[in-house]
Symmetry: C2
Subunit: 281 residues, 2 copies
């Protein structure tokens, strides 16, 4: 088999992953980043930004289910949801599995990501044309300041903080604006990188969210598509507890298919290994 290999370097440039590309579908340098979309024999279709895998068909469900359902199942009645970033549409797809949802705003800075996702990533972008969805192409860190006490749920589905504009979505100022844009029983989830390669960003994001929200809890998932294969998110709220306020029956009776998340995972994802507890002390 004749392969073109895709090499993805970790930030320190001494390690990374490689995999074969079978077909390149789209490549473009936009105002913000380089977009690549290609097929692979092993992982299905891959979507990359600036040379880093963002989603792949094989396992994007893990990331998107974990960032969406952990907070969604804690909120009693989430109607208004804001997704910041997440241009591929996978998070919106999961949010819309909840019938309570009336309005989802997706604020993705790069309109060309949305356009490419709609054309080349039908499995993740499938709900972006749903009438409940409003697509906005603005800087999320500015857009959020337009809202006060409005959203039931905010999901921060950003790129790596080291990648230009993405860094703005990891600041304390931005998290504060999110707090203010949430209703009194509002909940936030945020991707917070991994505890190995990006451990400083993970810790910083967790600490900043802890400073602003009443509750903030780090949670984890098995996620092969992002080296090193483990990922973290933070659940943050104005009072709701992700374990004490969890009703397993709601998950057991959920009528939509879920491939990763279930009522056991909801609880166990908050169990942290000792070395991670030490990191975020």
């Amino acid at each position: 088999m004749n392969h073109i290999n895709f090499f993805e370097y970790n930030p320190n440039d001494t390690s990374g992953v490689f995999f074969s590309i079978s077909n390149i579908l789209f490549s473009k340098q936009t105002k913000y980043q380089r977009i690549d979309i290609f097929d692979t024999p092993e992982f299905g279709r891959v979507f990359a930004l600036d040379g880093l895998t963002m989603t792949r068909e094989m396992d994007e469900f893990i990331y998107h289910e974990m960032i969406a359902h952990v907070p969604m199942f804690i909120h009693e009645n989430p109607k208004k949801v804001l997704v910041i970033g997440g241009g591929d549409g996978g998070t919106v797809r999961e949010v819309l599995k909840h019938s309570s949802v009336e309005e989802v705003i997706m604020c993705e800075i790069d309109a060309e990501v949305i356009e490419a996702a709609k054309k080349y990533l039908p499995l993740t972008s499938c709900e972006l044309d749903n009438p409940k969805v409003k697509l906005v192409s603005e800087d999320g860190s500015k857009f959020i300041k337009k809202y006060k006490n409005y959203f039931d749920l905010i999901i921060i589905d950003s790129t790596d903080p080291t990648e230009g504009e993405g860094g703005l979505l990891f600041t304390e100022d931005f998290y504060k604006s999110c707090f203010e844009a949430l209703t009194d029983d509002g909940i936030l989830s945020a991707e917070t990188e991994d505890p190995f390669i990006h451990k400083d960003w993970m810790r910083d994001a967790y600490k900043r969210l802890s400073n602003i929200f009443v509750k903030a809890r780090l949670y984890m998932g098995y996620l092969p598509m992002y080296p090193p294969g483990v990922w973290t998110w933070v659940f943050a709220s104005k009072g709701k507890d992700p374990i004490m306020d969890f009703e397993p029956e709601k998950v057991k009776n959920f009528d939509k298919p879920l491939k990763y998340y279930n009522e056991e995972i909801h609880v166990s994802c908050f169990s942290l290994p000792n070395f991670i507890k030490d990191m975020i002390k």
Copy 2:
């Protein structure tokens, strides 16, 4: 920086990981396999067999703590322990953190692995000279047949089943011999690969152990050193349940340092994502 890169291919040969080597310490083709030991700028010292990472200083503790402490904390009084494979010594190191242990037999087929580990991997092999430890260089699948009703705990710390002799440690016949070598309240743990790249082996190992033991439960860990960053083991017993018979206080009061395993991880590691539940149905 001038790098030599180490490329580790996944079995399908279309993907893998790469990382820099700063210093090669030892390379040898033995009767069974190729041993390489080298230093890396990112992961500390790495030990590889046939081009696949077996341990690295950065995160070997995760693998070794999970294969050892999950069963050790369920057995009421483990005195006699057999480790099959595990030539680097990391599993023996963890087993000996339990003061009840009187005898550990480590049956590693390749004496040259033990020798190299003692010389070049002091952090994992540090307990191999402990007087409680007996080192045996034999085929584990034959060695096990010498014992009946003897061991309190058997830990199968094998290489990938696809790698020659390692495959013998994944057969139903071998698992049956382990069952017979265990006492009535005996417990076994086995490494059972990952649910992505080696999912067939994982499922087969789990099913075979389920056929022979009264209880068999798959458990999981975050483990960057083995692509795809998630690993599984099976807990198997003649009756003891890894959750119902667990006493969290024993872990809380444990007087030895643990970097990954704790009383929450002990329970949460048995929570399986939906797609893995489906795989092992």
